[in-house]
Amino acid sequence: MRDPYEVLGVAKTATPEEIRKAYRGLAKKLHPDLNPGDKRAEDRFKEVSVANDLLSDPEKRRRYDAGEIDASGAEKAPQGRYYREYAGGTGHPYESHGGFADFAEGDDIFAELLRRSREASRRRPGADLHFVLNVPFLDAVNGATRTIALPHGAGPLEVTIPAGVEDGQVLRLKGKGEPSPGEGPPGDALVQIVVEPHRYFTREGDDIHLELPITLKEAALGGEVRAPTPAGGVMLKVPKHSNTGDVLRLKGKGVKRRRGAGDELVRLKVVMPTEADPELDRFLADWTPPAGYDPRKGM
């Protein structure tokens, strides 16, 4: 670390005003953003900043003069990256071609290169817009059209939700993003789908799962019951002697895709009446299970 007075080029007796002036003068010359091609400018600017930091604070300056801290004792290098590190990229809003527009007029190789570079940034597409769209379970299975209200200015955005869309999937709507800053195409709108859960349907891949309550009588004797599917109710044949946990497969009643449809898997659940049923009570009182019948035999 060099002596801060030396770095700023001021006398030990310099007034705060002299220090401020010296720093300003050096900062104007050495600021990395005013010297984008000079790799050493950053180090020199840092050194000047540190020296100024030390000498512009009366307390720090006193301690330095008294030998309590050294020149690096107050080191506080400027934070973050300099603008020049970004400005070399293409397609940012601060790009300017004003400095060479005249050179680009000719018909030699330089003019050609300059035109190409200018053209590339002119045709840069607009930024993409990101949205999250909550979709009810059945709309995700069957497909739907939804409208997203865009931030002010732009009109509403129509989103066609394809049948079978999955949770987390991102739909890309071409050309529905920000307009190009130049004359390029607009960006895209990216819509992330969040599928809301359903009251009784769940989904695994293209299969729909459903737990279907049936009565004791339907389980024992079999019968036709109405089972909901994403496309509406269908009649389902419950075989005789069905039980809780039995799974019936409704072919093709799952999620419909171009490559074919999934199935709906109906898991039966035998439920007893919730209200007292004296007739059932009487019947069961008279019923004797066959000898040796014990559902808890395996426990």
Partner: protein, 93 residues
């Protein structure tokens, strides 16, 4: 991408000043409509503007000129870099 809140914090800016800087086109947010978005580049540019104003005593009118020239200089540097790269490719070693 930073939202306005994060940007103001990192760029050490208040909202009123931000509006002025955007109106002057010293800063150009990624999205012109609400909610506005900002990049790390905008943070670096804001720090440059702070440096020019606070540490070098540049006033508003001067800032306008300086930023315009800096933008042109970067455009020129890029054009020059591309021309040099192409020439190097075409020059036999």
């Amino acid at each position: 991408m930073l939202n306005e809140e994060e940007f103001l914090k990192r760029a050490e800016l208040d909202r009123t000043t931000l509006e002025v800087w955007i109106r002057e086109e010293w800063l150009v947010p990624v999205r012109s409509t609400e909610p506005r978005g900002f990049t790390d580049m905008d943070v670096a540019r804001a720090k440059l503007i702070h440096d020019l104003q606070r540490n070098m005593g540049v006033n508003e009118a001067g800032l306008d000129v300086i930023l315009h020239l800096i933008d042109q200089m970067h455009g020129l540097r890029k054009a020059l870099a591309e021309a040099v790269a192409t020439l190097r490719e075409r020059t036999p070693h």
